[in-house]
Symmetry: C2
Subunit: 222 residues, 2 copies
Amino acid sequence: MIIFYWRRLQHMKNDKITISMDTVICTMYDDSLKVVVRKRSKAPYAGRYELPGIYLKTDESIKEGSKRCVRETTGIKNVYMEQMHTFGEVKRDTRERTVSIVYVAMLPASQLIDEYGDFILGDAELIDIQELAGSKKMAFDHGKILSKTLEWFAFKAQTSEIAFNLVDEEFTLPDLQKAYELLLGKKLFKSNFRNKIKNLVEETDYMTVGAAHRPSRLYTKV
Amino acid sequence: MIIFYWRRLQHMKNDKITISMDTVICTMYDDSLKVVVRKRSKAPYAGRYELPGIYLKTDESIKEGSKRCVRETTGIKNVYMEQMHTFGEVKRDTRERTVSIVYVAMLPASQLIDEYGDFILGDAELIDIQELAGSKKMAFDHGKILSKTLEWFAFKAQTSEIAFNLVDEEFTLPDLQKAYELLLGKKLFKSNFRNKIKNLVEETDYMTVGAAHRPSRLYTKV
């Protein structure tokens, strides 16, 4: 009985709260910005999509937690990740109070799509983020999380080089421009774009090969 | 006994973690960017400075928590606040695992300094953020939090209008330029600066009055 009393005292000191790590895993495919989601089979929100998520453990840093989230839910390791925002409305999860620390992961589609154009993540799906942002198709506040992600992308793409995470190590300039446009949420003039990024890229000796288009020069990041 | 067993089962489901809300309250005073800190009287880190902080309650949103933090530690209400970053290293607090969600608050010095130039917050102190960022003068990882805040300021000042939160409703252009420079961490050319902000400000009919300087035009935000 003393032990239980001591535990209760410990709990009275300050509240302890469940922390989830939800991750927005994004790629560029089919000329749109896609996000990895899974359809919920159970209540609450059965039939709606959710972001991959795990619960943070007491002995795990949030950086480790975010990596575990991506690894356990998709099998992907070594992906670019950055903390985006923490969501903490009281009623955001109807089951119990949960604060969600959201990381964004970005990777080229080649890491998610096999050589036949099939998505490699089993029961997860790759859906246009524009279709899900702010939408009731998402469970919990995950639609709101995606809206915030779009704002964050527009902001970050202006002031950082995150767009490079959406293309392969060797890329064409039209592909890189598309990545910038999807993150910024607007079209760019080719000449302005090329002028802006000219010090960030360098030409390789290679060209794309493909029947549908004429060959394009491949570039790498400086 | 059944109640305790049920409680333990609940706890096994997922870990629950203490969440603190630590706030970086910043102002511009004496031509530098200052932060509100308090000297710790108790171990751990007795004698070092800490940021104002509270523990998040289960029935309180993180936005409410951040506001309560500022209100309870400084008495200040209605201040500009924005979520900056969440810090979650396992050992960041040696007493128990604590994840810290950090908000930045910004206000003009006139709200913190009385008409005699005295700081109104009792035992708290107003110290140059440059002196404390990354420094061992700060308890826990609060030195690291301040370093991250400086990065964040530089990033935000480029792409948003947060600098206006450091000046009064009516301000001189040299004051506004100083606010931008402190946040960006670099000097700006007067002509470039004025050109950049010309659509954000408008002239008032008033001038500053003071013996030490010649009168300057006062402006407001558009």
